[in-house]
């Protein structure tokens, strides 16, 4: 399976985010709840994706994008106008944020200094942390959603699923559901599954794109590592060229206890399947 299909408006690819919204996502990481940190990372990623697909004449539909949340309930997790919708073309995401906030960021002033710049920060996804962790149900929901997508887009670059969780499924071992999800494939390759694990285990140190399970702290991390797909060669080259991560051929789409910077880094690598043409 080559993972080299061209991604274009005629042959879009797909990103599906599976977001743990269980009560334990209320725990703090870097001074914010995990739920808030994940929501910021997803909103920022969606913004970057939209901007990447924007051209002078509008947004090109290179991707269909969906967010499935799981916690007290499992299902599509967009806020605002997109609430209840599964996969949405990226132009639909661009034109329907729930709201646009103003935030400040430091930017290069072109002369070696930094200046504050007010930027628009669109919000599509709000933090939620409530209930159990029905991971198997969420993976099954992803399977159903992507089965339909693949039927319609069987020769396209396969979907990338990015799953963010604190790791302890409450509806059974998710291994089978992950394997079933990864068994879906287009003619260009099987679905790529990333597992980003925000562990509660005090012995869990940061591990980025591990190629072996040797230093994983517990069974929860091991299950998520086992379930993650190997990175494609292009993703590894993005990791090396843009994030200075020297990864082996066996590196998997698995991050343990990354801070928000490494979560954002992983999202960037995971959403760069190949060059847009």
């Amino acid at each position: 399976m080559p993972y080299n299909a061209e991604i274009s408006r005629g042959k879009p690819s797909c990103f599906l985010f599976l977001i743990d919204q269980s009560g334990s996502m209320q725990d703090e990481i870097n001074g914010r709840t995990k739920a808030q940190g994940v929501a910021d990372a997803i909103n920022r990623l969606l913004q970057n994706l939209v901007i990447k697909c924007a051209k002078s004449e509008g947004v090109r539909d290179y991707y269909d994008v969906g967010v499935i949340g799981y916690g007290a309930k499992t299902g599509p997790a967009f806020s605002g106008e997109l609430a209840g919708r599964g996969l949405v073309p990226i132009s639909g995401i661009a034109n329907a944020p729930a709201r646009i906030e103003q935030r400040t960021k430091k930017v290069d002033d072109g002369a070696g200094g930094l200046v504050d710049q007010t930027i628009k920060f669109p919000i599509w996804f709000d933090p939620t942390a409530n209930g159990g962790t029905p991971m198997c149900e969420a993976l099954r929901r992803a399977h159903d959603t992507l089965t339909t997508w693949i039927t319609l887009n069987g020769d396209n670059f396969p979907p990338v699923v990015i799953h963010i969780t604190d790791g302890e499924s409450t509806d059974g071992n998710p291994t089978e559901a992950m394997n079933k999800l990864k068994s879906l494939a287009t003619s260009d390759g099987a679905i790529l599954l990333f597992n980003l694990h925000l562990s509660n285990n005090p012995n869990a140190h940061t591990i980025l794109f591990a190629d072996s399970p040797a230093s994983l702290p517990d069974e929860y991390a091991r299950v998520l590592w086992d379930g993650a797909s190997p990175l494609t060669p292009f993703m590894r080259s993005v990791a090396q060229q843009e994030h200075e991560l020297d990864l082996s051929d066996g590196a998997k789409g698995f991050v343990l206890n990354g801070d928000m910077v490494s979560i954002i880094q992983a999202l960037d690598i995971g959403t760069r399947p190949s060059n847009l043409r």
Partner: protein, 257 residues
């Protein structure tokens, strides 16, 4: 001595002509122009930025209006950046287009200029080329005499340094300019190509294909389109197209007595 010029171009398959983001200048073929002082340029606006075709256009025209004088061209860059900003400011944009435009546009540039030299010299003319990025020049005399700035298909990657509409950490664009020059004779042909076409040309040449002959045979847009579409459709042993689907530009300059 005189030159004849021809130019061939196509947008990437699936895109409209309006979405072509390469640029070239002068944009009209010429039968016989004086060689001395001849100047031309091509540029490749980066796909991942917006309004990059407009930026590529500004760069090629400026290069030629400065007659390929590098110092004057570099001095004019800040004014060109402002001009690009004014052009896009006149367009009403949604939030994402504003953010995208704020990040600026990027483009390669490849410029060529030709000069007569003093009479009775054993070589009648010389050429100079300047490149930023991965658009390439080939000087053909039977075979490839010069390939610049890249000379192997394996040298192409996806992140060359490009000229930008925004200053980057006070970076000096001149540090990324590559300059080369040499002699030229009647019968020599220069090809200027944007990256996808240049990479294909080098690769097919490395494979021993009679690729130079196929370019000599080009006599019009229809034939160029047939070659490009055929090479985009053809697949190598790894299933990759011979010619990557991208905007393509070919600028041909032939030297005559």
């Amino acid at each position: 001595m005189r030159v004849t010029t021809q130019m061939f171009w196509l947008p990437k398959a699936g895109n409209s002509v309006a979405e072509y983001e390469d640029a070239f200048w002068p944009n009209e073929a010429a039968d016989t122009l004086p060689l001395n002082g001849f100047c031309c340029a091509i540029a490749d606006g980066a796909t991942e930025t917006s309004f990059s075709g407009a930026w590529a256009n500004l760069l090629t025209r400026q290069w030629c209006s400065e007659n390929g004088d590098l110092a004057q061209f570099l001095a004019a860059l800040p004014t060109l950046q402002v001009q690009w900003g004014s052009e896009i400011d006149s367009v009403a944009m949604p939030w994402y287009a504003e953010e995208k435009a704020r990040a600026g546009a990027f483009s390669s540039l490849l410029g060529l200029r030709l000069f007569d030299v003093i009479p009775d010299n054993d070589w009648p003319a010389r050429w100079e080329a300047v490149a930023v990025g991965d658009s390439c020049l080939f000087q053909i005399r039977n075979d490839i005499a010069v390939a610049f700035p890249l000379s192997r298909a394996a040298d192409f990657n996806n992140s060359p340094y490009l000229l930008s509409t925004v200053s980057q950490n006070g970076e000096d664009a001149s540090e990324h300019l590559m300059i080369v020059g040499g002699k030229c004779y009647p019968g020599d042909v220069f090809y200027l190509m944007t990256d996808a076409l240049a990479c294909w040309f080098l690769r097919r040449h490395e494979e021993g294909k009679e690729i130079i002959e196929s370019l000599f045979d080009l006599d019009g847009h229809e034939k160029f389109q047939r070659v490009v579409e055929g090479q985009r459709a053809g697949k190598d042993a790894e299933g990759q197209p011979y010619l990557r689907n991208d905007d393509v530009t070919l600028y041909r300059v032939e030297i005559h007595e």
